[in-house]
Amino acid sequence: MIVETMEIVGQRKIANNAYELVLKGQDLVSLANQGQFLHVQVNEGTDPLLRRPISIADINKQNAELTVIYRAGGKGTNMLALKQKGESVSVLGPLGNGFSITETNPGEVALLIGGGIGVPPLYELSKQLTKLGVTVIHVLGFSSSEDVFYEEKFAELGQTYVTTMDGTYGEHGTVIDVILKQGFHFDIIYSCGPTPMLKAIESTFPNKKGFLSLEERMGCGIGACFACVCHKKDDPTGTAYKKICTDGPVFAIGEVEL
Protein backbone atom coordinates (compact mmCIF):
# COMPACT_ATOMS: atom_id res chain seq x y z
CA MET A 1 0.00 0.00 0.00
CA ILE A 2 1.55 3.25 -1.18
CA VAL A 3 0.55 6.63 -2.59
CA GLU A 4 1.60 7.16 -6.17
CA THR A 5 0.93 9.83 -8.77
CA MET A 6 -0.24 7.84 -11.75
CA GLU A 7 -0.49 9.12 -15.29
CA ILE A 8 -3.65 8.67 -17.30
CA VAL A 9 -2.56 6.80 -20.43
CA GLY A 10 -6.06 5.87 -21.50
CA GLN A 11 -9.57 7.11 -20.85
CA ARG A 12 -12.52 6.02 -22.97
CA LYS A 13 -16.26 5.62 -22.62
CA ILE A 14 -17.13 1.94 -22.97
CA ALA A 15 -20.82 2.01 -22.12
CA ASN A 16 -23.57 4.26 -20.86
CA ASN A 17 -21.79 6.39 -18.20
CA ALA A 18 -19.09 3.73 -17.88
CA TYR A 19 -15.46 4.65 -18.49
CA GLU A 20 -12.31 2.60 -18.85
CA LEU A 21 -9.35 4.37 -17.32
CA VAL A 22 -5.77 3.17 -17.79
CA LEU A 23 -3.24 4.41 -15.25
CA LYS A 24 0.54 4.16 -15.55
CA GLY A 25 2.60 4.03 -12.39
CA GLN A 26 5.59 2.21 -10.96
CA ASP A 27 5.74 0.32 -7.69
CA LEU A 28 2.02 0.42 -7.00
CA VAL A 29 1.26 -1.76 -10.00
CA SER A 30 3.72 -4.45 -9.02
CA LEU A 31 1.90 -4.85 -5.70
CA ALA A 32 -1.59 -5.15 -7.19
CA ASN A 33 -3.72 -8.29 -7.16
CA GLN A 34 -7.13 -9.26 -8.53
CA GLY A 35 -10.00 -7.92 -6.44
CA GLN A 36 -8.03 -5.20 -4.73
CA PHE A 37 -9.03 -1.58 -5.16
CA LEU A 38 -7.55 1.90 -5.54
CA HIS A 39 -8.42 4.97 -3.51
CA VAL A 40 -8.34 7.67 -6.18
CA GLN A 41 -8.09 11.41 -5.58
CA VAL A 42 -10.04 12.65 -8.59
CA ASN A 43 -9.02 16.27 -8.12
CA GLU A 44 -6.62 18.50 -6.26
CA GLY A 45 -8.16 20.98 -3.89
CA THR A 46 -10.85 20.26 -1.35
CA ASP A 47 -13.95 19.62 -3.42
CA PRO A 48 -14.52 16.76 -3.78
CA LEU A 49 -12.61 16.15 -0.58
CA LEU A 50 -12.51 12.39 -0.23
CA ARG A 51 -10.85 9.78 -2.41
CA ARG A 52 -12.97 7.40 -4.45
CA PRO A 53 -12.57 3.63 -4.09
CA ILE A 54 -12.43 1.88 -7.47
CA SER A 55 -11.62 -1.77 -8.15
CA ILE A 56 -8.72 -2.91 -10.25
CA ALA A 57 -10.10 -4.43 -13.45
CA ASP A 58 -6.88 -5.31 -15.27
CA ILE A 59 -3.22 -5.46 -14.28
CA ASN A 60 -0.37 -5.12 -16.75
CA LYS A 61 2.84 -5.43 -14.75
CA GLN A 62 5.16 -5.26 -17.76
CA ASN A 63 3.91 -1.80 -18.71
CA ALA A 64 3.25 -0.88 -15.09
CA GLU A 65 -0.35 -0.16 -16.04
CA LEU A 66 -3.61 -0.66 -14.19
CA THR A 67 -7.06 -0.50 -15.73
CA VAL A 68 -10.14 0.51 -13.78
CA ILE A 69 -13.70 0.78 -15.02
CA TYR A 70 -15.99 3.21 -13.29
CA ARG A 71 -19.44 4.63 -13.60
CA ALA A 72 -19.57 8.42 -13.81
CA GLY A 73 -22.52 9.48 -11.72
CA GLY A 74 -21.68 11.71 -8.81
CA LYS A 75 -19.48 14.72 -8.29
CA GLY A 76 -16.16 12.91 -8.12
CA THR A 77 -16.52 10.34 -10.86
CA ASN A 78 -17.95 12.98 -13.19
CA MET A 79 -14.80 15.01 -12.62
CA LEU A 80 -12.65 11.94 -13.20
CA ALA A 81 -14.41 11.39 -16.52
CA LEU A 82 -13.30 14.86 -17.63
CA LYS A 83 -9.62 14.07 -17.06
CA GLN A 84 -7.59 13.81 -20.23
CA LYS A 85 -4.84 11.46 -21.30
CA GLY A 86 -1.57 12.88 -19.99
CA GLU A 87 -3.07 14.28 -16.80
CA SER A 88 -2.35 12.39 -13.61
CA VAL A 89 -4.14 11.46 -10.40
CA SER A 90 -2.96 10.59 -6.91
CA VAL A 91 -3.70 6.96 -6.14
CA LEU A 92 -3.58 5.23 -2.75
CA GLY A 93 -3.30 1.49 -3.16
CA PRO A 94 -3.46 -1.31 -3.79
CA LEU A 95 -6.00 -1.68 -0.98
CA GLY A 96 -7.98 -4.57 0.44
CA ASN A 97 -7.42 -8.30 0.38
CA GLY A 98 -8.49 -9.13 -3.15
CA PHE A 99 -9.88 -12.39 -4.48
CA SER A 100 -8.07 -15.45 -3.17
CA ILE A 101 -7.43 -17.95 -5.95
CA THR A 102 -5.44 -20.45 -3.92
CA GLU A 103 -8.61 -22.35 -2.91
CA THR A 104 -9.24 -23.16 -6.55
CA ASN A 105 -7.48 -26.03 -8.27
CA PRO A 106 -6.65 -26.57 -11.94
CA GLY A 107 -9.50 -28.33 -13.70
CA GLU A 108 -12.14 -27.02 -11.36
CA VAL A 109 -14.93 -24.80 -12.60
CA ALA A 110 -15.32 -21.27 -11.23
CA LEU A 111 -18.56 -19.35 -11.69
CA LEU A 112 -17.91 -15.61 -11.89
CA ILE A 113 -21.02 -13.54 -11.31
CA GLY A 114 -20.91 -9.81 -11.92
CA GLY A 115 -23.56 -7.17 -11.55
CA GLY A 116 -23.25 -3.80 -13.28
CA ILE A 117 -20.32 -1.85 -12.01
CA GLY A 118 -19.33 -4.92 -10.00
CA VAL A 119 -18.21 -6.65 -13.17
CA PRO A 120 -14.76 -5.00 -13.56
CA PRO A 121 -12.81 -6.76 -10.76
CA LEU A 122 -13.89 -10.12 -12.16
CA TYR A 123 -11.88 -9.53 -15.32
CA GLU A 124 -8.42 -9.64 -13.76
CA LEU A 125 -9.66 -12.46 -11.56
CA SER A 126 -10.76 -14.46 -14.58
CA LYS A 127 -7.38 -13.91 -16.23
CA GLN A 128 -5.61 -15.27 -13.16
CA LEU A 129 -7.93 -18.25 -12.78
CA THR A 130 -7.62 -19.30 -16.40
CA LYS A 131 -3.86 -18.93 -16.14
CA LEU A 132 -4.10 -21.43 -13.28
CA GLY A 133 -5.96 -23.84 -15.53
CA VAL A 134 -9.31 -23.22 -13.89
CA THR A 135 -12.35 -23.28 -16.16
CA VAL A 136 -14.32 -20.06 -15.84
CA ILE A 137 -17.96 -19.33 -16.57
CA HIS A 138 -19.00 -15.69 -16.59
CA VAL A 139 -22.51 -14.47 -15.87
CA LEU A 140 -22.67 -10.71 -16.24
CA GLY A 141 -25.81 -8.79 -15.38
CA PHE A 142 -26.59 -5.25 -16.51
CA SER A 143 -29.72 -3.15 -16.35
CA SER A 144 -29.95 -2.49 -20.06
CA SER A 145 -28.21 -3.03 -23.40
CA GLU A 146 -26.38 0.31 -23.33
CA ASP A 147 -24.78 -0.60 -19.98
CA VAL A 148 -23.06 -3.74 -21.23
CA PHE A 149 -19.25 -3.71 -21.45
CA TYR A 150 -16.32 -6.14 -21.73
CA GLU A 151 -18.44 -9.02 -23.07
CA GLU A 152 -15.87 -9.98 -25.72
CA LYS A 153 -12.95 -9.67 -23.34
CA PHE A 154 -14.62 -12.08 -20.93
CA ALA A 155 -15.63 -14.34 -23.81
CA GLU A 156 -11.95 -14.77 -24.72
CA LEU A 157 -11.38 -16.30 -21.29
CA GLY A 158 -14.41 -18.57 -21.01
CA GLN A 159 -18.11 -19.10 -21.50
CA THR A 160 -19.85 -15.76 -21.05
CA TYR A 161 -23.54 -15.12 -20.48
CA VAL A 162 -24.83 -11.56 -20.47
CA THR A 163 -28.21 -10.74 -19.04
CA THR A 164 -30.15 -7.49 -18.82
CA MET A 165 -32.99 -6.64 -16.46
CA ASP A 166 -35.03 -5.15 -19.28
CA GLY A 167 -34.14 -7.88 -21.73
CA THR A 168 -32.79 -5.41 -24.28
CA TYR A 169 -29.64 -7.51 -24.64
CA GLY A 170 -28.63 -11.12 -24.01
CA GLU A 171 -30.77 -13.07 -21.62
CA HIS A 172 -33.71 -11.43 -19.88
CA GLY A 173 -33.70 -11.20 -16.10
CA THR A 174 -31.34 -11.52 -13.17
CA VAL A 175 -28.04 -13.36 -13.10
CA ILE A 176 -29.69 -15.93 -10.81
CA ASP A 177 -32.34 -16.62 -13.46
CA VAL A 178 -29.62 -17.36 -15.98
CA ILE A 179 -27.60 -19.56 -13.65
CA LEU A 180 -30.63 -21.65 -12.69
CA LYS A 181 -31.81 -21.88 -16.29
CA GLN A 182 -28.41 -23.03 -17.51
CA GLY A 183 -27.93 -25.31 -14.51
CA PHE A 184 -24.17 -24.97 -14.55
CA HIS A 185 -21.98 -27.40 -12.73
CA PHE A 186 -19.34 -25.44 -10.82
CA ASP A 187 -17.02 -25.78 -7.81
CA ILE A 188 -16.70 -22.22 -6.60
CA ILE A 189 -18.41 -18.84 -6.91
CA TYR A 190 -16.75 -15.45 -7.22
CA SER A 191 -19.04 -12.45 -7.29
CA CYS A 192 -19.15 -8.69 -7.15
CA GLY A 193 -22.19 -6.48 -7.56
CA PRO A 194 -25.10 -4.84 -5.81
CA THR A 195 -25.93 -6.18 -2.33
CA PRO A 196 -29.35 -7.56 -3.35
CA MET A 197 -27.58 -9.69 -5.98
CA LEU A 198 -25.02 -10.94 -3.48
CA LYS A 199 -27.81 -11.82 -1.04
CA ALA A 200 -29.63 -13.73 -3.77
CA ILE A 201 -26.48 -15.68 -4.52
CA GLU A 202 -25.98 -16.57 -0.87
CA SER A 203 -29.55 -17.77 -0.45
CA THR A 204 -29.60 -19.65 -3.74
CA PHE A 205 -26.31 -21.47 -3.16
CA PRO A 206 -26.09 -21.74 0.64
CA ASN A 207 -23.60 -24.61 0.60
CA LYS A 208 -21.35 -23.39 -2.17
CA LYS A 209 -17.79 -22.37 -1.56
CA GLY A 210 -17.26 -18.85 -2.80
CA PHE A 211 -16.24 -15.25 -2.38
CA LEU A 212 -18.19 -12.02 -2.54
CA SER A 213 -16.81 -8.48 -2.97
CA LEU A 214 -18.63 -5.80 -0.97
CA GLU A 215 -19.03 -2.03 -1.15
CA GLU A 216 -19.39 0.59 1.55
CA ARG A 217 -18.82 4.32 1.86
CA MET A 218 -15.27 4.88 2.99
CA GLY A 219 -13.16 7.48 4.67
CA CYS A 220 -9.51 6.47 5.00
CA GLY A 221 -9.63 3.27 2.95
CA ILE A 222 -6.87 1.77 5.07
CA GLY A 223 -8.63 0.59 8.23
CA ALA A 224 -8.18 3.58 10.51
CA CYS A 225 -11.54 5.38 10.60
CA PHE A 226 -14.11 2.61 11.12
CA ALA A 227 -16.35 4.02 8.38
CA CYS A 228 -16.72 0.79 6.44
CA VAL A 229 -17.44 -1.95 8.92
CA CYS A 230 -19.97 -4.75 8.68
CA HIS A 231 -21.25 -7.35 11.12
CA LYS A 232 -20.09 -10.95 11.07
CA LYS A 233 -22.68 -13.57 10.19
CA ASP A 234 -22.07 -15.48 13.40
CA ASP A 235 -22.64 -12.32 15.50
CA PRO A 236 -25.13 -10.25 13.48
CA THR A 237 -26.04 -7.81 16.26
CA GLY A 238 -22.90 -8.01 18.39
CA THR A 239 -19.67 -6.10 18.51
CA ALA A 240 -17.65 -8.39 16.22
CA TYR A 241 -16.97 -6.70 12.89
CA LYS A 242 -14.98 -6.70 9.68
CA LYS A 243 -13.59 -3.68 7.90
CA ILE A 244 -14.48 -3.78 4.24
CA CYS A 245 -11.45 -1.69 3.27
CA THR A 246 -8.86 -3.97 4.86
CA ASP A 247 -10.47 -7.30 5.88
CA GLY A 248 -12.35 -7.10 2.58
CA PRO A 249 -13.64 -6.01 0.18
CA VAL A 250 -13.75 -9.77 -0.54
CA PHE A 251 -15.31 -12.13 2.00
CA ALA A 252 -16.07 -15.81 1.92
CA ILE A 253 -19.75 -16.59 1.43
CA GLY A 254 -21.36 -16.67 4.87
CA GLU A 255 -18.57 -14.76 6.60
CA VAL A 256 -20.27 -11.37 7.00
CA GLU A 257 -23.76 -9.91 7.11
CA LEU A 258 -24.71 -8.49 3.72
Binding site: G221, I222, A224, C225, F226, A227, V229, C230, T239
Partner: protein
Amino acid sequence: MSRLNIELPGLSMKNPIMPASGCFGFGKEYAKLYDIEKLGAIAIKATTVETRYGNPTPRVAETTSGMLNAIGLQNPGLESVLTNELVWLEQFTVPIVANIAGSKVEDYIEVAEKVSKAKNVQALELNISCPNVKEGGIAFGTNPDVAGELTKLVKEVSSVPVYVKLSPNVTDIVEMAVAVEKAGADGLSMINTLLGMRIDLKKRKPILANRVGGLSGPAIKPVAVRMIYQVSQAVEIPIIGMGGIMNAWDVIEFFLAGASAVAVGTANFVDPFVCPTIIEELPQVLDELEVDHISELIGGSWK
Protein backbone atom coordinates in the same frame (compact mmCIF):
# COMPACT_ATOMS: atom_id res chain seq x y z
CA MET B 1 18.02 23.86 18.03
CA SER B 2 14.46 22.81 17.35
CA ARG B 3 11.99 25.38 16.12
CA LEU B 4 8.94 23.20 16.60
CA ASN B 5 9.12 21.58 20.05
CA ILE B 6 6.23 22.36 22.38
CA GLU B 7 5.84 21.65 26.08
CA LEU B 8 2.27 21.17 27.27
CA PRO B 9 0.89 19.64 30.47
CA GLY B 10 1.91 15.98 30.22
CA LEU B 11 2.96 16.35 26.61
CA SER B 12 6.54 16.96 25.67
CA MET B 13 6.20 17.22 21.88
CA LYS B 14 9.08 17.50 19.40
CA ASN B 15 6.59 19.20 17.11
CA PRO B 16 3.03 20.45 17.61
CA ILE B 17 1.39 18.08 15.12
CA MET B 18 -0.76 15.15 16.20
CA PRO B 19 -3.34 13.16 14.29
CA ALA B 20 -6.83 13.87 15.63
CA SER B 21 -8.71 11.25 17.58
CA GLY B 22 -10.75 8.91 15.42
CA CYS B 23 -8.87 9.71 12.25
CA PHE B 24 -5.82 7.62 13.00
CA GLY B 25 -7.25 4.55 14.75
CA PHE B 26 -4.61 3.35 17.19
CA GLY B 27 -1.76 4.06 14.80
CA LYS B 28 -1.25 0.61 13.26
CA GLU B 29 -2.48 1.51 9.77
CA TYR B 30 -0.48 4.69 9.32
CA ALA B 31 2.59 2.99 10.80
CA LYS B 32 2.59 0.90 7.60
CA LEU B 33 2.93 4.09 5.57
CA TYR B 34 5.50 6.10 7.53
CA ASP B 35 7.45 6.23 10.76
CA ILE B 36 4.85 7.53 13.22
CA GLU B 37 7.73 8.29 15.57
CA LYS B 38 7.93 11.55 13.62
CA LEU B 39 4.65 12.76 15.10
CA GLY B 40 4.50 15.22 17.98
CA ALA B 41 1.88 13.06 19.68
CA ILE B 42 -0.92 10.68 18.78
CA ALA B 43 -4.54 11.08 19.84
CA ILE B 44 -6.03 7.60 19.73
CA LYS B 45 -9.61 6.66 18.92
CA ALA B 46 -12.13 7.26 21.68
CA THR B 47 -12.11 4.50 24.26
CA THR B 48 -15.23 3.46 26.17
CA VAL B 49 -15.67 0.96 28.98
CA GLU B 50 -17.46 -1.57 26.84
CA THR B 51 -16.65 -2.80 23.37
CA ARG B 52 -18.74 -0.73 20.97
CA TYR B 53 -19.76 -1.60 17.44
CA GLY B 54 -21.04 1.91 16.84
CA ASN B 55 -23.65 3.04 14.37
CA PRO B 56 -24.99 1.21 11.34
CA THR B 57 -23.53 2.15 7.95
CA PRO B 58 -23.32 4.36 5.95
CA ARG B 59 -21.26 6.16 8.54
CA VAL B 60 -19.66 8.82 6.36
CA ALA B 61 -20.90 11.24 3.73
CA GLU B 62 -19.05 13.84 1.76
CA THR B 63 -20.03 17.52 1.80
CA THR B 64 -18.60 20.55 -0.01
CA SER B 65 -15.04 20.81 1.32
CA GLY B 66 -15.98 18.65 4.26
CA MET B 67 -17.33 15.32 5.39
CA LEU B 68 -19.89 14.02 7.83
CA ASN B 69 -19.20 11.08 10.10
CA ALA B 70 -21.35 9.09 12.48
CA ILE B 71 -19.04 6.29 13.51
CA GLY B 72 -20.66 6.11 16.93
CA LEU B 73 -17.51 5.61 18.97
CA GLN B 74 -16.75 2.15 17.69
CA ASN B 75 -13.82 0.83 19.71
CA PRO B 76 -12.60 -2.46 21.17
CA GLY B 77 -13.32 -1.32 24.71
CA LEU B 78 -11.14 -0.42 27.68
CA GLU B 79 -9.63 -3.85 28.34
CA SER B 80 -8.55 -4.43 24.77
CA VAL B 81 -7.22 -0.91 24.35
CA LEU B 82 -5.06 -1.43 27.45
CA THR B 83 -3.84 -4.91 26.62
CA ASN B 84 -3.57 -4.66 22.83
CA GLU B 85 -3.56 -1.19 21.30
CA LEU B 86 -1.57 0.66 23.94
CA VAL B 87 0.87 -2.19 24.39
CA TRP B 88 1.53 -2.22 20.65
CA LEU B 89 2.13 1.53 20.80
CA GLU B 90 4.79 1.06 23.51
CA GLN B 91 7.37 0.41 20.80
CA PHE B 92 7.20 4.14 20.03
CA THR B 93 8.28 7.03 22.22
CA VAL B 94 5.56 9.35 20.89
CA PRO B 95 3.33 10.68 23.66
CA ILE B 96 -0.16 9.21 23.52
CA VAL B 97 -3.28 11.25 24.14
CA ALA B 98 -6.06 8.86 25.15
CA ASN B 99 -9.45 10.12 24.00
CA ILE B 100 -12.09 8.86 26.41
CA ALA B 101 -15.84 8.79 25.99
CA GLY B 102 -18.92 7.35 27.59
CA SER B 103 -22.61 7.78 28.10
CA LYS B 104 -22.60 7.69 31.89
CA VAL B 105 -20.39 9.56 34.36
CA GLU B 106 -19.25 6.26 35.89
CA ASP B 107 -18.07 5.10 32.47
CA TYR B 108 -15.91 8.17 32.01
CA ILE B 109 -14.44 7.75 35.48
CA GLU B 110 -13.61 4.10 35.00
CA VAL B 111 -11.95 4.64 31.64
CA ALA B 112 -10.10 7.74 32.86
CA GLU B 113 -8.72 6.03 35.92
CA LYS B 114 -7.51 2.91 34.12
CA VAL B 115 -6.31 4.38 30.83
CA SER B 116 -4.40 7.17 32.58
CA LYS B 117 -2.32 4.51 34.33
CA ALA B 118 -1.06 3.03 31.06
CA LYS B 119 2.67 3.77 30.92
CA ASN B 120 2.62 5.46 27.50
CA VAL B 121 -0.52 7.55 28.00
CA GLN B 122 0.69 11.08 28.75
CA ALA B 123 -2.64 12.87 28.70
CA LEU B 124 -6.38 12.28 28.51
CA GLU B 125 -8.64 13.97 25.98
CA LEU B 126 -12.05 14.07 27.59
CA ASN B 127 -14.49 13.75 24.73
CA ILE B 128 -17.63 15.39 26.07
CA SER B 129 -18.69 16.35 22.61
CA CYS B 130 -19.29 13.33 20.47
CA PRO B 131 -22.39 14.21 18.48
CA ASN B 132 -22.94 10.64 17.42
CA VAL B 133 -24.04 8.87 20.57
CA LYS B 134 -27.65 8.99 21.61
CA GLU B 135 -27.48 8.72 25.38
CA GLY B 136 -25.97 11.68 27.22
CA GLY B 137 -22.96 12.15 25.01
CA ILE B 138 -24.01 15.54 23.75
CA ALA B 139 -25.44 16.87 27.05
CA PHE B 140 -22.01 16.67 28.65
CA GLY B 141 -20.73 18.89 25.90
CA THR B 142 -23.40 21.55 25.92
CA ASN B 143 -24.06 22.25 29.60
CA PRO B 144 -21.26 24.09 31.43
CA ASP B 145 -22.21 22.74 34.86
CA VAL B 146 -22.45 19.15 33.68
CA ALA B 147 -19.17 19.52 31.79
CA GLY B 148 -17.46 21.11 34.79
CA GLU B 149 -18.69 18.42 37.14
CA LEU B 150 -17.52 15.65 34.81
CA THR B 151 -14.14 17.33 34.42
CA LYS B 152 -13.74 17.54 38.18
CA LEU B 153 -14.52 13.86 38.68
CA VAL B 154 -12.21 12.78 35.88
CA LYS B 155 -9.40 14.95 37.21
CA GLU B 156 -9.73 13.28 40.60
CA VAL B 157 -9.07 9.83 39.20
CA SER B 158 -6.68 10.64 36.35
CA SER B 159 -2.96 10.01 36.76
CA VAL B 160 -2.17 12.33 33.83
CA PRO B 161 -3.23 15.84 32.73
CA VAL B 162 -6.73 16.12 31.30
CA TYR B 163 -7.60 18.03 28.12
CA VAL B 164 -11.30 18.62 27.66
CA LYS B 165 -12.47 18.40 24.06
CA LEU B 166 -15.12 21.03 23.42
CA SER B 167 -18.11 20.79 21.13
CA PRO B 168 -18.69 23.71 18.75
CA ASN B 169 -22.43 23.07 18.84
CA VAL B 170 -23.02 25.52 21.66
CA THR B 171 -24.26 29.07 21.99
CA ASP B 172 -21.35 30.20 24.12
CA ILE B 173 -18.07 28.32 23.70
CA VAL B 174 -16.25 30.63 26.11
CA GLU B 175 -18.67 29.77 28.89
CA MET B 176 -17.97 26.06 28.34
CA ALA B 177 -14.21 26.61 28.29
CA VAL B 178 -14.19 28.69 31.43
CA ALA B 179 -16.37 26.14 33.23
CA VAL B 180 -14.02 23.23 32.56
CA GLU B 181 -10.96 25.34 33.33
CA LYS B 182 -12.47 26.24 36.69
CA ALA B 183 -13.17 22.54 37.21
CA GLY B 184 -9.47 21.82 36.84
CA ALA B 185 -8.89 20.97 33.18
CA ASP B 186 -5.19 21.13 32.27
CA GLY B 187 -5.94 22.04 28.69
CA LEU B 188 -8.58 22.23 26.00
CA SER B 189 -8.87 20.57 22.66
CA MET B 190 -11.17 22.12 20.12
CA ILE B 191 -13.12 21.87 18.02
CA ASN B 192 -15.01 18.65 17.64
CA THR B 193 -17.37 18.34 14.69
CA LEU B 194 -20.38 20.53 13.84
CA LEU B 195 -23.68 18.68 13.66
CA GLY B 196 -24.73 18.35 10.04
CA MET B 197 -26.70 16.27 7.57
CA ARG B 198 -26.80 15.34 3.92
CA ILE B 199 -29.84 13.93 2.19
CA ASP B 200 -29.82 11.37 -0.61
CA LEU B 201 -31.94 13.14 -3.23
CA LYS B 202 -33.02 9.97 -5.00
CA LYS B 203 -33.75 7.88 -1.90
CA ARG B 204 -35.20 10.92 -0.13
CA LYS B 205 -33.58 10.12 3.19
CA PRO B 206 -30.45 11.14 5.06
CA ILE B 207 -27.31 9.52 3.65
CA LEU B 208 -26.06 8.58 7.10
CA ALA B 209 -27.83 5.67 8.79
CA ASN B 210 -27.57 7.76 11.97
CA ARG B 211 -29.22 10.61 9.99
CA VAL B 212 -27.09 13.37 11.55
CA GLY B 213 -23.32 13.32 11.72
CA GLY B 214 -20.32 15.42 12.59
CA LEU B 215 -19.05 17.87 10.00
CA SER B 216 -15.26 18.10 9.69
CA GLY B 217 -12.71 19.29 7.18
CA PRO B 218 -11.80 22.67 5.64
CA ALA B 219 -15.43 23.79 5.61
CA ILE B 220 -15.40 24.23 9.40
CA LYS B 221 -12.00 25.88 9.76
CA PRO B 222 -13.34 29.44 10.12
CA VAL B 223 -15.57 28.32 12.99
CA ALA B 224 -12.65 26.57 14.70
CA VAL B 225 -10.36 29.57 14.30
CA ARG B 226 -13.03 31.93 15.66
CA MET B 227 -13.69 29.76 18.72
CA ILE B 228 -10.01 29.31 19.51
CA TYR B 229 -9.50 33.05 19.09
CA GLN B 230 -12.27 33.73 21.62
CA VAL B 231 -11.44 30.97 24.10
CA SER B 232 -7.67 31.47 24.16
CA GLN B 233 -8.24 35.03 25.37
CA ALA B 234 -10.57 33.87 28.14
CA VAL B 235 -8.60 30.99 29.65
CA GLU B 236 -5.07 30.39 30.93
CA ILE B 237 -4.79 26.75 29.93
CA PRO B 238 -3.34 25.73 26.55
CA ILE B 239 -5.43 24.75 23.56
CA ILE B 240 -4.88 21.93 21.11
CA GLY B 241 -6.52 23.33 17.99
CA MET B 242 -8.20 21.38 15.20
CA GLY B 243 -10.83 21.72 12.53
CA GLY B 244 -10.02 21.64 8.84
CA ILE B 245 -6.25 21.76 8.96
CA MET B 246 -4.89 20.65 5.59
CA ASN B 247 -1.39 22.12 5.45
CA ALA B 248 1.35 23.97 7.30
CA TRP B 249 -0.17 27.39 6.65
CA ASP B 250 -3.39 26.28 8.32
CA VAL B 251 -1.32 25.31 11.36
CA ILE B 252 0.03 28.86 11.49
CA GLU B 253 -3.51 30.24 11.43
CA PHE B 254 -4.46 28.08 14.43
CA PHE B 255 -1.37 29.21 16.34
CA LEU B 256 -2.09 32.86 15.61
CA ALA B 257 -5.66 32.29 16.81
CA GLY B 258 -4.35 30.97 20.12
CA ALA B 259 -3.60 27.26 19.82
CA SER B 260 -0.39 25.82 21.32
CA ALA B 261 -0.55 22.60 19.31
CA VAL B 262 -2.82 21.20 16.63
CA ALA B 263 -4.51 17.99 15.60
CA VAL B 264 -5.10 16.94 12.02
CA GLY B 265 -8.11 14.77 11.32
CA THR B 266 -9.95 14.54 8.04
CA ALA B 267 -6.87 15.55 6.04
CA ASN B 268 -5.37 12.12 6.79
CA PHE B 269 -8.04 10.57 4.57
CA VAL B 270 -7.19 12.87 1.70
CA ASP B 271 -3.44 12.44 2.05
CA PRO B 272 -2.29 9.75 4.48
CA PHE B 273 1.10 11.45 4.64
CA VAL B 274 -0.30 14.85 5.57
CA CYS B 275 1.09 14.88 9.15
CA PRO B 276 4.75 14.18 8.27
CA THR B 277 4.43 16.51 5.28
CA ILE B 278 3.23 19.36 7.49
CA ILE B 279 6.03 18.68 9.98
CA GLU B 280 8.57 18.88 7.14
CA GLU B 281 7.09 22.05 5.69
CA LEU B 282 6.74 24.02 8.91
CA PRO B 283 10.38 25.20 9.09
CA GLN B 284 10.23 26.79 5.61
CA VAL B 285 6.95 28.43 6.56
CA LEU B 286 8.56 29.81 9.73
CA ASP B 287 11.37 31.16 7.56
CA GLU B 288 8.88 32.93 5.30
CA LEU B 289 7.27 34.45 8.37
CA GLU B 290 10.69 35.27 9.82
CA VAL B 291 9.90 33.43 13.03
CA ASP B 292 12.49 31.44 14.94
CA HIS B 293 10.22 29.22 16.99
CA ILE B 294 6.60 28.33 16.30
CA SER B 295 5.68 29.08 19.90
CA GLU B 296 6.22 32.77 19.16
CA LEU B 297 3.05 32.64 17.06
CA ILE B 298 0.71 31.43 19.82
CA GLY B 299 -2.12 33.97 20.09
CA GLY B 300 -0.27 36.26 17.71
CA SER B 301 -3.51 37.61 16.26
CA TRP B 302 -4.64 39.16 19.54
CA LYS B 303 -1.53 39.47 21.71
